[in-house]
């Protein structure tokens, strides 16, 4: 789980061009939207693409997206439960 969380942080920083953020600073339980990370609607789409491309997992509903994309931990938990 910890390896998955670190991988996710690296991928999110790289794919979403979060150049002001490092893996060490990226809180596992920090809110991705509406908090310090400050992702926007385009980032949400990019996250959907990232999960599909890198993990073969599709987010198909807005409700699922809201639950899954709360924090890096919720994404990791979703990926673990969809292995």
């Amino acid at each position: 789980m910890e390896n998955l969380i670190e991988d996710l942080k690296k991928q999110i920083i790289e794919e979403l061009n979060l150049e002001d953020l490092t893996v060490e600073e990226f809180g596992t339980d920090e809110l991705l939207f509406g908090g310090n990370i400050g992702l926007d609607s385009i980032d949400a789409l990019e996250l959907i693409v990232l999960l599909e491309k890198n993990y073969g997992v599709k987010i198909t509903s807005k409700e699922d997206g809201k639950k899954v994309f709360q924090t890096v931990r919720t994404i990791a938990e979703f990926l673990e439960s969809n292995k």
């Binding site: 794919e15 979403l16 061009n17 400050g38 385009i42 990019e46 693409v49 599909e52 491309k53």
Partner: protein
Amino acid sequence: MADKNLYIQHSCFIRAGKVVVDQSQIEQEEDGEHLKAFLKRLYKSRETDYSKFHKMDALCKLAFMASEYVLEGVDWKSEIPAEDFAIVLQNRSSSYDSDLEHADSIQREGGIASPAVFVYTLPNIMIGEIAIRNGIKGENACFITDAFNSELLVDQVEDAFAEGSKLVLTGWVEQAAEDYEAFFFLVGQQSQAEKKQWTVDNVKGLLHEPF
């Protein structure tokens, strides 16, 4: 009728590896420095706190930095409503680099387009980025022309004032791979001795100055 009493309040040129603000050079490209690295260094050097900069394509970064320089220290918000601040830009290659990257990503990723790339496949996104950053809500337009057209730009800015704008950010922002050129003018009605009038001849004169 168009208002002829318009003056260039500030100017910024980013071209040939140099940043020139109000006719004074303030930054220079380092040897072998690529455009994106140059723009990132400019951004970092100003300690600008706007993380969205890193998500922009090179065209938007170029326009963004030119706007940052030309608007530095301008307290327009205490003078005019945001709706009276217009933006009029021109360029030649539109958003061609991002268009190509978008097309490549579709092929490379087996049909999965990148939303973060796709969003920059329109040149007027530069205007959106500048408007969001500064809270500008006035008229705006982005013209695609074969080459910089000073007559068109001067006319369009005069029209914007005739329609009620009180301040116009305007200029040329061209970028295709490592070729780039941006020059921005902030045009307003404040007249001072050192300010040039907003005319085709004065714009052409500034373009031909040795920087």
